[in-house]
């Protein structure tokens, strides 16, 4: 028939001891299943965390004055945003951009005073870059014609004891050193779920901010969103080229989300590495667990191998035959594990995993509602690939022992 006898033999040898082979296959499948699910789970949550942070906070890329990120000095500005805007129009993959200005100031209602980060935003463009509009829980979002209105974080509103329609006073320092003061009316209250933000940020219209803080035409941040994470670096390169040519500003920099939130990327790296450690240990335990199957399958056939060598099978060929057997076992296990793993993950990819017990905790990191694992080529392939490599190494050990078999001795084995 079409199938060579080598393969037929290997396949049938695998099933000589069905129970033992099945247990081994289940062990391998179990490991693959766990890995596919867990990796999809991890990658899914990373993606959610990154997207949330990007969509609420920083965008994918920002253009700022040099050192602004660290110093947050009101005088470190992007002086001519309009010029930059013209260059942004032509960049592929750029999905949206907006301007922001920030200052730390005192905010008081009649009864309370708190320090707050005041953000000046362009309501229309901001909506294309961040999710702020959808996070409004009371009142309404800023409209393009608004001037003296403000959106306030929920915890901040609570602490200040104010609600929609109330007035608050803002007191701070302008760009030129003058006193910046104004009265604003609360138009909307938002809730991001991240206590830091809800407790100490508010948003006012950009033109109002510019007047109050004597900004002129300048802003502090040009915030940009890219259509997918994979394009961030190429857009960054283009932007870097653009700002190099603008002689108006002394020194601007382009920062990507990893530089804007170094903690996030490292936090993800840490999580990934610790996950990998656990996974490797799991695979190692499985490898030793099934090593005995490979060992037994070889040592209980020593006599048979003697006969094979007597009729002319070289040690090399024998090793190959045995390795193919182990490979069949492993591949069946991996295949089964991947299939079941993908099915299970898919189910949760649609339904999500309810972690209501820890929901307050996870919203701080930007994970809201349910957790959704996400299948990807990497999450499906990398775990089983590692299993394949390590189990193949385990299978290699007994196979190597066959190399030194002497036919006569082998056949004398009882």
């Amino acid at each position: 028939m079409g199938v060579p006898i080598d393969l037929k033999m290997a396949w049938r040898n695998v099933w000589r001891n069905p129970r033992r082979s099945l247990l081994t296959i289940f062990a391998i499948a179990f490991a693959c299943l766990v890995l596919v699910f867990m990796l999809s789970f991890q990658f899914g949550s990373y993606e959610t965390m990154i997207n949330t942070s990007v969509k609420i906070y920083t965008g994918h890329l920002q253009i700022q004055a040099k050192d602004y990120q660290e110093k947050r000095d009101i005088r470190l500005v992007v002086s001519d945003p309009k010029v930059i805007e013209k260059h942004l129009k032509g960049i592929p993959h750029l999905q949206g951009f907006t301007f922001r200005a920030q200052a730390f100031s005192l905010v008081s209602s009649g009864k309370r005073t708190y320090g707050t980060l005041v953000n000046g935003i362009d309501p229309k463009n901001e909506a294309s870059v961040s999710r702020l509009k959808s996070l409004i829980v009371k009142g309404s979002y800023l409209s393009p014609n608004d001037y003296g209105t403000v959106l306030m974080g929920q915890l901040l509103a609570k602490n200040l004891r104010v609600g929609i329609g109330n007035e608050i006073t803002v007191l701070g320092q302008g760009r030129d050193g003058s006193i910046a003061a104004t009265v604003l009316r609360i138009k909307g209250i938002f809730r991001t779920g991240i206590d830091q933000l809800d407790r100490s940020t508010m948003y006012i219209p950009l033109n109002c901010f510019r007047d109050v803080y004597a900004m002129g035409q300048a802003v502090h941040q040009v915030v940009m969103v890219v259509d997918s994470l994979s394009h961030v670096l190429s857009v960054k390169r283009q932007l870097a080229g653009i700002i190099l040519h603008l002689s108006a500003d002394p020194s601007l920099v382009v920062l990507d989300w990893e530089e804007l939130m170094p903690g996030l990327r490292q936090g993800i790296e840490m999580d990934l590495i610790s996950g990998v450690v656990f996974y490797l240990i799991l695979i190692l335990v499985v490898a030793f667990s099934i090593l005995n199957t490979f060992l037994m399958a070889i040592f209980e056939r020593t006599r048979e191998f003697g006969v094979l060598m007597a009729i002319g099978v070289t040690p090399g060929r024998l090793m190959r035959l045995l390795f193919i057997e182990s490979l069949i076992l492993t591949l069946v296990g991996i295949g089964a594990g991947i299939v079941v793993g993908v099915l299970v993950t898919r189910y949760f990819q649609f339904h999500g995993i309810d972690i209501s017990g820890a929901s307050d905790l996870l919203t701080q990191f930007g994970i809201t509602g349910r957790l959704y694992p996400r299948l990807s080529y990497i999450s499906v392939a990398s775990g089983p690939a590692a299993v394949l490599i390590i189990t193949s190494l385990a299978a290699l050990y007994p196979t190597l022992k066959v190399r030194s078999l002497q036919p006569v001795k082998a056949m004398e084995t009882v």
């Binding site: 033999m9 049938r12 006969v307 007597a310 002319g312 099978v313 040690p315 060929r317 006569v408």
Partner: protein, 234 residues
Amino acid sequence: MLRSGKVKIVECIEVTKTYDQGNLQVKALENVTLSIGKGEFAALAGPSGSGKTTLLNMMGGLDRPDSGQILVEGQECTTMSQSELARLRLNKIGFVFQSYNLIPVLTAAENVEFVMLLQGVPASERRQRAKKILDEVGLEGLYDRRPAQLSGGQQQRVAVARAIVANPAIVLADEPTANLDSKTAKGLLEIMLKMNREKQVTFVFSTHDEMVMGYARRLIHIRDGKVYNDVVQG
């Protein structure tokens, strides 16, 4: 002793082999010299422990002597590497053992085909030759049976078929009938004799059974590792 005019298939010259058994040194073979010619049907006869199996293993390149030479079709075996010996066994020598000859997971035909596969014979030709040889040893229709589904005698016949199908220079059989009842044993020996006559296949088998010795045309008596008698009989 040598039949004049016959081509030497296997030649043993001053072959000696010693084994360690605990603290003792046992001389399995001591300066054994003999030749097997083409077409012979010879038996190595002797009690257990006489060294007949050891001698058989030597002749088939399964074991190396401590001193002396072994020539198979003129080629010096004692200095060959493992792979070269394997190739020798594949192409020149057929083996039949007392038991556990066959690969349990392959059918009778596949067991016979296996050797041809190793030799690189194309698939269609393999199948044909396997069936043909199985017919010749009296196993028509049993091609697709696994060893577990065959009787002891039938299994030994498949072993003989496999040994012959590759056209070896010599077939070495180590007590091939030891596990068979006398009727089946006779049947097997008849087949071997038939193959020897019709195809000129050289046979050397070891035995301690008088009945089996009766079938041999040349009887080589071995005791305590030495050949003490070498006769040609009818």
